[in-house]
């Protein structure tokens, strides 16, 4: 081997080595950037979640809330994003709806739970909301401002909420997100996409995907019998959603016989039925 060849081999070797090293550096930088993005997403979600909590109030029931979290976190274990924790709470409202804020903050109204007949129905609603978080529907529709990577704290929450001292870019976007979630609703495509993903999440966790169209049928009946006057009014028409879901079950050959878990659901949620009239 002459010296010329040796030099060329050495150059090539160094070239490959440096490429590997730069890939490692990129990986580290990517990981740091990813963590910053996640922190920003959680921060954004907290800002929105605080507003939802203040508007509706939360049912202070340890048994029901723990059970809700057992079901929700179980689905997240199989179908959630692994970079943050998911949090679930029951909103003190007899209207029938559920909401998801970025960063894993998920809410179901008491009215929505009262219409459920088993754990499968609860899992179906939570899967749909987890899908909104995973598919970043709010984040894509209304991205948070890029310069707010700090941590929301009690002081800034109070000051910005009062609107007298601080009015941050984050607050303005969060307010728009609230209007989107609670009043206008997400795009029809986003809702259908969340339904589609929810079916896969249910199947992956071990619940029956049929629980989702089954629950929507209950909502449809409740709406037509006027038992409930605010049924998922931020979502696409129920008939369209139900038809699409049955089509998904057919195409994917999802198993029909999966546990519905009625007794455990009644044991943990049954007591919420006392002193409630739907739609009030």
């Amino acid at each position: 081997m002459n010296i010329k060849k040796l030099i060329i081999y050495c150059i090539c070797f160094v070239f490959v080595l440096s490429a590997c090293k730069s890939t490692q550096k990129t990986d580290t930088a990517d990981a740091k950037y990813h963590e910053l993005e996640i922190r920003q997403e959680i921060n954004y979600g907290k800002t929105i979640a605080l507003r939802i909590i203040r508007r509706y109030g939360v049912v202070q029931d340890k048994k029901a809330t723990y059970y809700l979290n057992q079901v929700g976190k179980s689905i997240a274990l199989f179908a959630g994003r692994s970079d943050f924790e998911y949090h679930f709470a029951i909103l003190d409202s007899n209207s029938i709806n559920a909401f998801a804020a970025p960063g894993g903050y998920i809410f179901v109204t008491k009215g929505a739970i009262l219409l459920m007949r088993n754990e499968g129905h609860l899992a179906a609603v939570l899967s749909h909301e987890i899908a909104h978080v995973n598919l970043k529907h709010i984040l894509n529709e209304l991205p948070p401002p890029r310069d707010t990577q700090g941590v929301i704290d009690r002081t800034s929450a109070i000051l910005s909420a009062r609107g007298t001292i601080v009015s941050t870019a984050m607050d303005q976007v969060a307010e728009k997100a609230i209007q989107l979630l609670l009043e206008k609703g997400l795009k029809v495509e986003a809702e259908m996409e969340a339904d589609h993903a929810a079916m896969a999440y249910l199947g992956e966790t071990g619940y029956g995907p049929g629980a989702l169209p089954d629950y929507l049928e209950i909502l449809k009946k409740a709406k037509s019998s006027k038992k409930a006057n605010q049924v998922y009014n931020t979502h696409p028409p129920l008939t369209r959603r139900i038809a699409a879901l049955y089509q998904i079950i057919k195409e994917n050959k999802y198993p029909e016989k999966r546990p519905k878990v009625k007794t455990r659901f009644e044991k943990n949620m049954g007591h919420l039925k006392k002193s409630v009239k739907l739609g009030e």
């Binding site: 508007r55 924790e85 009690r154 009062r162 999966r258 878990v261």
Partner: protein, 168 residues
Amino acid sequence: MRYKVILFFISVFLSAGILAQTLYVSSAKTNLYSEASSEAKKISELKRGDRLTLVKEQGSWVLVKSDSKQGWVKKLFVSTQKPGDKVSILSESKTNKNVHIRKRASSDVTAASARGLSQSNEGVSARFRGDKSMLEISEGYAILETMEVLTIDEEDLLDFLKEERIQN
């Protein structure tokens, strides 16, 4: 010969850095199927963090290589991001409990300013409040903190699912 060696190094560089896309399993566990269908034969069980090499995509499925095996996995349960520790932003009051909270003069004033509402859209949002006023900010924040500190071990969640035969 010299050019062949150079080409070899370049191809190694390209295949290592650009062509081979790495995916990671994001679900606690999921199956590797022989075809792009849940009805297909299960080749093996994958667990969170398993490293996969993307071969091709087809609808909601991806064909991947896992160790020496090749099979299909649902796109929803893999990620380009390696699962790491959960990022957590615990509330500031966990470290500073002496934040002064000034009582508001009226719940309606705070409610309106919290939403940054103008006179025109106040009516639209007011219907969500019903007869109830919005919660105090401190109260809302305390609820948010309660939500965040509730964690359940992975083992307990699996037991919860196994109890009703949702998982085997």
